[in-house]
Symmetry: C2
Subunit: 344 residues, 2 copies
């Protein structure tokens, strides 16, 4: 049979020593090995092109080198960028990325965590906002507890209601800041296009919007708050809904860039000029935001960089480095482009 893969034994045989010695060489063990045999072993490894079987190592160590990343939608560049950042960092340390695309579905999210458990993932990243569902939280809470007991390192981006390292993305502050900017430009009748109800992020950003208004003593007009779904298509629909009240509105704050982009597109499609007729802003600073007509004024949430930071944090944790700061909270910043008209 030619199906036999090369194992530590083959190396040992060729090097004329025991498998134990080979193992020691592979792992740079503290245990002394004479430089002579070490050379022999290395020779044999090269000769046979031997690479230790990770599965076997995993069974022994109860570590898989798998880092699970759960995203709502990998086609959303917000998540794609974060995944890219994580992957680029951790691959240098021979960890591997295992992604799950949940489409914000509760079932799929639970399934993902289950898979990560049975595959003994070393770490898990909840890249997206948590789902606001009681049943989900209860079950997921147990699963997460279970993972933690296994020693899995868990990180959540934006607050999750589990006892894990939560990275504050400044969602509320972001929405407040961009709304404030719009207010500073003299706008007072401002519509808001919210994200999906089930996401925590939506709620936080809505809060930020309302807070900004309240600080100025401006009443929140619920007729001007539209529920959407964080997508380009959703933004388009929101624009259509907004059409009835568009005359009394001078600006629209969208809960994220994808929505803002869709909104602008449809507004333009309807013959309404941005920013001449109505101003539009978003949150996220997606790569495509600077290429819209007009370029979108927004808040930068550097998720690619955050991905790298998460990767670094995980590696430190997994390597047992004791002095490890939690991943630094991301610095948001206002990106002023051309989608807001100055009313002053």
């Amino acid at each position: 049979m030619e199906k036999s893969e090369i194992t530590i034994k083959d190396v040992a045989k060729l090097a004329g020593c025991s498998p134990t010695t080979v193992s020691r060489v592979i792992n740079n063990s503290d245990h002394p090995v004479s430089s002579k045999t070490k050379a022999l072993v290395k020779e044999a490894i090269k000769e046979l092109n031997f690479r230790p079987n990770r599965i076997a190592q995993g069974l022994k160590s109860d570590k898989s080198h798998i880092i699970g990343v759960i995203v709502h939608d990998i086609c959303d560049s917000y998540f794609a960028q974060m995944v890219k950042g994580i992957e680029e960092f951790i691959s240098d340390y021979d960890y591997i990325i295992n992604i799950y695309n949940t489409n914000r579905g509760i079932e799929k999210e639970l399934h993902s965590v289950n898979m990560l458990k049975v595959n003994r993932a070393d770490a898990v990243v909840f890249a997206g906002s948590t789902l606001l569902d009681e049943e989900y939280r209860k079950i997921m809470g147990e699963y997460v507890q279970n993972l933690k007991k296994q020693g899995t390192v868990i990180v959540g981006v934006t607050p999750h209601p589990f006892e894990i390292v939560n990275i504050e993305l400044g969602n509320e502050l972001a929405a407040q800041t961009i709304t404030d900017y719009v207010l500073n430009k003299g706008h007072r009748k401002i519509a808001y296009v919210a994200g999906p109800k089930i996401l925590n992020t939506s709620q936080q950003r809505s809060e930020g919007f309302k807070k900004a208004l309240k600080c100025r003593g401006i009443e929140v007009d619920n007729r001007l708050i539209i529920r959407s779904d964080f997508s380009f298509e959703g933004g388009r629909k929101a624009a259509l809904e907004l059409l009835d009240n568009i005359d009394e509105v001078t600006a629209v704050v969208a809960a994220n860039d994808a929505t803002a982009l869709g909104l602008m597109w449809e507004l333009n499609n309807q013959g309404i000029k941005v920013p001449q007729d109505v101003s539009v802003v978003g949150v996220d600073d997606l790569p495509e935001a600077k290429y819209s007509y007009p370029p979108l004024t927004t808040i930068s949430l550097p998720v690619y960089k955050l991905g790298k930071q998460i990767g670094e944090y995980l590696i430190n944790k997994l390597h047992g480095n004791k002095i490890v700061d939690d991943p630094a909270n991301v610095q948001i910043s206002l990106i002023e482009r051309g989608s807001v008209r100055d009313l002053l």
Copy 2:
């Protein structure tokens, strides 16, 4: 110590039988098990919330349930969509996706394959075009052979010079078709913005463009062929390069949508109207292509669907279904929108 995970032994103990029996129940073995003990075992499994350790199963079976997907850039929606399609299909069968982001780098691609080998991936998908580099091909060829010997199922999207299942994406045909469309609208002075030299896909699409011209007996003007990199930013730069000769050109064929979008943006930025002054087309039909100004006429390459098909193919192969067709070649189609002016 409370670190002990629940194993098959714990279940056996609780059910009052041997681990062997438990294993038989888990795997629905042909080997007979009395319905009484079967019930007992199932009871115990539920009671203890037991799930077999995949790593241990993997060591035994030399299968990991890992499907590796190597992409050039996960932030490119072309790849994101494909990954999504694959993931959605295979996750129903409890396989897991392991992605690698190579940025078209040779080193990283080799590293990826290495990782997939040592982790005993059951299948590997080369989601992107192959790299046109002799050294790379030689080394990668060996690696791929090696994987195949292990029994890894390997699929390549667009032809790869390895003995694997290659899915023809109709790149040449796509470029030829869209160019033909432009010709049919009466355009004769047509510029072409090519993809990166190192990608096979680039070459194929370039061929398609040239073929379309040749079929009409039109000379290819090398001054009007611009090298770019398949990105939005690259498209912008290409527009700038094109500025010198823009007067003699009535249409531009971009090798992909991202490029076309960047091109249109910069053209518009420079005060050149699309399609009034110059027409622009792309290839891919990215989600964002229908939202540009004007909406982009392009060729649809349904990569999300292709991802699903690949997933299905892999599952069939991995489950040992004998009668398995290779993944159907994707049906391309012309998407006529508003970026081409009719000169006739």
